[in-house]
Amino acid sequence: MSEGSTTARDHQPLLVAKDVHRHFEGMRAVDGVSIEVPRGQITGLIGPNGAGKSTFMAVLAGTLPATSGTIVFDGRDITRLPPFMRARTGLVRPFQLPSEFARLTVLENLLVAAQDNRGDSLFGALMGKRYWIEDERRLVKQARVLLKRFGMTAKESDYAGTMSGGQKRLVEIMRALMLKPRLLLLDEPMSGVHPKIVEEIQYYLQDLRSEGITILMVEHELHMVERLCDSVVVMAQGKVIGSGTMASLRKQPEIVDAYLVG
């Protein structure tokens, strides 16, 4: 393959949403949103409450089907794919709400998300432990690296349901990382989390970006957005009203108005 074609692909956005609508019985929660998410960057999605940010994220993840419009992920039209298939292609959305598997241990919460375990099928299970133990060992190792990185090594055998809110958030993020995501959709990853953990999450997000993972995140804390995001998309009343760097957005009075008034 020539160097040129790789570069061309790398310059294409990882995700392209075109004229995406999501209506709820006449209410246009998402009203013709088109955005592009560049590869290897952190893109922020901001806007007042009720702007349709979370609905749009849910449409991207597939939990809510789009009323109309197209979503292309890495060159593939995924508009009609069910959410679990989108997750398998690398488009992963951890939850805004705590969504741990309470009666699985923290380590198991991570392991269960791995896609490449031979024992994770009825056939594999019936073949017995010898058939899948190598995969399991490899994944346990991988999960323990994450646990260490997130400072939760000591908790690996505790039930996830017994974790604190902030720890559950970390479990959620680690679980998403076990999926080897290419695009992480994060909906206010820092909300309701202790300031110390907020700082940690920030570092991890930057680490992830340097590892080549693309991130699209909804965030209310503007200084956080300023620090983390390479570019920002502003939504209000279901539409995109602007995009660019935070600095360039601050210079546009109508955007400042929409965001502050909303």
């Binding site: 679990f84 309470a102 594999g124 399991e136 346990v140």
Partner: protein, 324 residues
Amino acid sequence: MNLYYGANLLIYAGVDIIACLALNLQFGVSGIVNFSFIVFQAVGAYTAAVLSMPNDKAFGYDFQLYVGGYQLPFPIPWIGGAVAGGLLAVPVGLVVLRKLRADYQAIALLVTSVIANTVITNARPFLNGAAGLALVPPPLADQIDPNTAPYQYFYVGLTILAVVLVLFVVNRVVNSPYGRSLRAMREREIAAMAIGKNPVRLKMTAFIVGGVIAGFSGALLVGFIQFWAPSVWLYPETIILFAAIIVGGRGNNVGAILGALLVPVGFEEVTRLLNNAPLGLPAGVVPALEWVAIGLLIMGFLWFRPDGVRPEPRRVFEGGPDIE
């Protein structure tokens, strides 16, 4: 204790253990509240019966009306029973498990159980209606006389083999990465979907595997009691099995076995003995009280010991940090 009574008790225990292991896979591990479980046992029993019986025109069988009657040799009727349980799970699962919310699934399955029983009771030409099928030939009856002591030992041996086989299969499933996916789906379906699990497929698989095992348990039972009728698979039978799982410990195969021994076997035996004892109670009081007791048992456990006698084990992996 006489041999026939002992054999009877052991075989019922085996059948109940197998049924509880199947229900534990569906309910305890995967979270499917299968209130129609007994129907799957029944379809296995009916299938095994009509596969092993001669047709309903044959001498000695012409007082009954039923479809089939193929006189197939053992173990074909048993395999047929297991397959029938799995096959029935496909349409039922597709209708119930795809779109409905979990609580409505439970209701739909309960209704399925009632409908199935009513239909079989009233559609007499199909499986002889309320009177049921009698004179079902026991396995290998042409080689060993079923009315002898050796046959009792033989059947107990078969039952033990069947229990070991089923336990082997469910242990592999439950203690594998696949079992972990099933438990994750049980805990939070929507989050499981977010990490790439297909919950419909996971549920269908657990439902079908459970159906196969349930059908197998029916075949095993009908081969021994040689009779099968709607009165033995009324929907409350499923409730007894649920009680067993709750008492034994949801999600734990050992718990399911314990539950099977404590509730369907233990309770029913105690009731039967009390009923025969000269207590001076009016007829029917003891069996009625049995239902009260089972209801109290379920409530008591859910209240005071919701995880059962043997709770689901916490999976600790080798090489981790020492805890405590």
